[in-house]
C-alpha cells in the first residue's frame, strides 16, 4: 500500500471520520468513540492528556471519570516510552553508504567557458557553484542558497546569480557587499571565470551565529 496510490488507502469507509452530530458540546466523536459519564468524549480526554500540558483543564483534574480514562492509558504509555527509548541505532555505516551512492551520481550541469583566449577550457556549472557557495559561506552571518551560472554574450562572459540566507545582526547591505566581493574574487582568482556580474538576492534569514560577535566579526 503506497500512500501516494489512491487505490490502496488503508481500509476505512470513505467519510468515516467526517463530521457527525453527537454529544459533548457538539464535538463530533470519532468512530468507536465513547461518551464518559461526565459528558466528555473519551477521544478528546485522551488527546488532552497526551498532547496538552498537565493540569490545563480543571475539569480533567477533578473529574473521576476523566482521571480513570487517562489512567487506563498508563500501561500503553509506559510501553510506548520504552519503545521510544530503544537503543539508538547506528547511523555511521548507513550514512557512508548513502553518500557513496550519491557521490557516484555525478551531476555536471551546463559547461561554462573559462576566461582563456582560445576558449577551449570549460568548467561544469555544479563544480563552479560549489566553489562560489563556499566563497559566500566564508562571510560571517551569510550562507549561500542557490547558485546559478549563465553564459552571457558571445564570448567567455559568465553571470553569477546567487540567493542568500543572512543574519540580521549587522547591516544587510554591508553583508551582501562582502558576499559579492568574496564570490567575485573567487570566481576570477580561483576559477578563472570572466565574470560579468554577481547578482545576489537575500531570500532567507539566519539566526545570528552565537559563536561570533554581533555584526559578524571584522569586515
Amino acid at each position: 500500500m503506497a500512500l501516494d496510490d489512491p487505490h490502496a488507502r488503508p481500509t476505512e469507509p470513505p467519510g468515516a471520520d467526517g463530521p457527525r452530530t453527537g454529544p459533548a458540546a457538539g464535538i463530533p466523536p470519532f468512530p468507536g468513540d465513547e461518551v464518559l459519564p461526565c459528558g466528555r468524549l473519551l477521544s478528546r480526554v485522551w488527546e488532552q492528556a497526551l498532547d496538552a500540558a498537565p493540569a490545563t483543564d480543571p475539569h480533567t483534574v477533578s473529574c473521576p471519570h476523566c482521571r480513570e480514562a487517562v489512567e487506563g492509558l498508563a500501561t500503553l504509555n509506559a510501553a510506548a516510552r520504552a519503545l521510544r527509548a530503544e537503543a539508538p541505532v547506528g547511523l555511521h555505516a548507513l550514512a557512508d553508504r548513502v553518500m557513496n551512492i550519491v557521490s557516484a551520481e555525478v551531476r555536471l550541469g551546463r559547461l561554462l567557458p573559462l576566461a582563456d583566449p582560445v576558449r577551449d577550457l570549460r568548467i561544469s556549472e555544479n563544480a563552479a557553484a560549489k566553489v562560489l557557495r563556499q566563497a559566500a559561506d566564508t562571510v560571517p552571518g551569510a550562507t549561500a542558497a542557490t547558485c546559478r551560472l549563465l553564459p552571457e554574450g558571445d564570448g567567455t562572459g559568465v553571470r553569477v546569480t546567487m540567493t542568500l540566507a543572512a543574519a540580521l545582526d549587522g547591516p544587510l547591505p554591508d553583508r551582501v557587499h562582502q558576499v559579492r566581493r568574496s564570490v567575485f574574487h573567487s570566481a576570477v582568482q580561483d576559477l578563472g571565470l570572466d565574470v560579468t556580474a554577481v547578482d545576489i538576492t537575500v531570500v532567507d534569514l539566519l539566526e545570528p551565529d552565537p559563536l561570533l560577535p554581533p555584526g559578524g566579526g571584522p569586515s
Binding site: F30, L83, E86, K130, V139, T143, R181, H185, D209, G217
Partner: protein, 196 residues
Amino acid sequence: MIEHVASSSPDRGLLGRDLPDRLLAVRAAEGDEDSFAVLVQRHGRSLLALARCMLGNPQDAEDAVQDAFVSAWRRLPEYRHSAEFRTWIYRITVNRCLTMRRRRPPPLPLDAVGEPAAEDAWSQPARSAEHDAATTALSHALAEMDAGQRLCWILREVQGLSYKEIAHVTRTSEQTVRGRLFRARRSLQEAMDPWR
C-alpha cells in the same frame, strides 16, 4: 578593485552551523553533497527508528532508509519545497517501508499459530529477550494493527510528529489522523490490558 574578504574565523563546516533544512535542501538540489550529508545525519536516526517500528527488523530498516535517501537525492531537483524537508523525507521513507511490507510473504492467520504472528523480527526470541514483556506485547499489537492506524500511532507516539505533519506524511486530513490515532490507542489499550 577586487578585495578578498574571506572571514578571519575558520570555516566550521555546514554541520556546525545549524542551518535550516530548507536551505540545505536547496543546496543539495543543486548537487551540493555536503549539504545533503548534513540532512542525512540530521534525519537518519529518527528515520531508522521509524523504519524499524514499521518493519520490525533492523536490516530491513537500514535498507528502507538507504533507499529513501538515495531516492530523495535523485528527486531533490524536482522537490518544490511545498512541504518541509522533514515531512517530505518521512513520506518517502514511509512509502518505501510500505512497499517492502507488501513484498513480504503474507502472515499466517492468527489461529494457525500459538504465538503472535511470526513474520516480524520483533517476534524473534533474541529480540524478545531484550524487551520487557509489555513492550513486546505492544510490538505484537502494532504488527497486527490496521496499517493506517499503526503508521499514525508510530509517527505520533514514537516519532513525536504533530497532527499536521502526520497529515502531510500520510496525505490525509488532521481529522482523519486524530480518528486513526484514537482507534489505534483504543485497540492498543485493549491489547495491553493483561499487563495492567
